[in-house]
Amino acid sequence: MALLEVSGVSKNFSGLRAVQEVSFAVPEGVIFAVIGPNGAGKTTLFNMIAGVFPPNEGTITFAGERIDGHAPDEVCRRGIGRTFQLVRPFPALTVEENVIVGALLHRQHVEAARQRAHEVLRQLDLFDKRAQRASALTLPDRKRLEVARALATDPKLLLLDEVMAGLRPTETDRMVDIFRTLNRETGLTILLIEHVMRAVMALASRVLVLHHGAAIAEGKPEAVVREPAVVQSYLGAEAI
């Protein structure tokens, strides 16, 4: 059974059908990408999984239990960590304190949480910056802090919302490297919504393509990017 199963999910925003009858399954231990042009419904889909709002139709199942309609904190407690497309660190807290907040979800004591925070900060190359205030970080560092905080909650599934957006190619490669290592070494399942094809091709073992709210293709990344419907709707001139 897949770790995350989305079946027949739709979402309407007063007449606008942002997501229509999308189904897919993310098996445990894989890196799964959702791609699509702007306005394809990627973030809407992401928000339904993260519990920001419930779908109008369909079900979302995580580890065998329905999670659609649950609140964001409840979804996180069940083992889904998320990042925000526009990063939202706790600005006045230090990098370490930001991550401790995440680590305290499943730990009662601040010292235990600090240990976990240090582990995560090392994995994300932020350990040396742990005493800085989050507000003082550069964008690439903030993006990694966002990931660190989510990881500190010990998720089984990590949801990444355009975590590469705004990064330079070298920074993107560094992020790709971090996720690969995490996935290989801890078996973490990752669902990423991504615009940066360079990252998708390097990371994902499966890709789902959304267009106008509907899934138009799914499969291995190399195969998906050659499908005519995908080339036409999304990759366009870039691929030709």
Binding site: D73, L93, V101, V110, R133
Partner: protein, 339 residues
Amino acid sequence: MKALALEVPSRRALILLALAFVAVLVAPFFVNDYLLTILIVIFYFAYTAQAWNIMMGFAGQLSLGHALYVGLGAYTTAALYVHFGVAPWVGLPLAIAISALTGAFIGFLAFRFSIAGVYFAILTIAFAEFARIGFDHFNWVGGSAGFFLPVANYTSNDLWTLRGRPIMFYYVMLVFTLAALVLCHLLLKSRIGYFWQAIREDEEAARALGIDTFRYKMIAVVLSAGMTSIAGVFFAFYYNNLFPEQVFHISRSIELILAPIIGGIGTLFGPIIGAFLLTGLAESIFELMSAFGWTPPGAKQVFYGLCLLVVVLLLPEGVWPPLARKLGLDKPSSDKPEA
């Protein structure tokens, strides 16, 4: 708004803290009666500031109606004492419970129905106003004519019934203030302190990290309301008279929050420093002016306004954070000790 968590207090901080502690402990023996009453008022404001700061400074929920909890604490214990002869310390648990429940009700209404920010602040004002008007017509405790505790010329201090001379009230308020300081220090270092600060900084991000924000905001309101009501007990037994128009008035609520704003919202020592600065300066200037025979009405309010203006413009963090850095008490964030 970062809390100055003194995780590993430096030697200098410990020495300063010890000196300050000794100073406030022996102060009553070195000051005259007038100065003693000023010190009592300072600690009253320092304590209420600390209690308010849990809600606003730690958890980010702005209350502009904290006079409500002072008043509920004051009226509850005063009524029990006057009508049934119940000692204030016996009435105190009931006073705390009533205030905490009222806080819980306001918190529930607001957080359940997503009333946040300024709307939440307005809601807190509204409930303080309900109480003001309600108590105006509550004749069992005197209504608008006021409620009075029996006053006599006390020669001895009876701590049990809180009947006595100012020096007793000084130590009562000092103990409360120090206890609140220790409690806030422990809270800020604990799991709940981290969760509160996360909610204060970004509630949506806090929820995404699995924090049950409703629950932790409720705890902050209930704790803050309960603590504030203890100050009400002091208020009733120290001043011996309660008028709804004064106790629950919005100007009382505003008065309570000036010290933490000026001292530094969200810090541990800001509320205390703020209370000393504000009340101390206001009283000295007032004294000076009356020495010259000039006592214009509303001078204190104008002075408070000026203080706020200066702090907001020049020291947006409040007085304490820059002062702590000057004194070398706040370790620069770049050289925290290795873990």
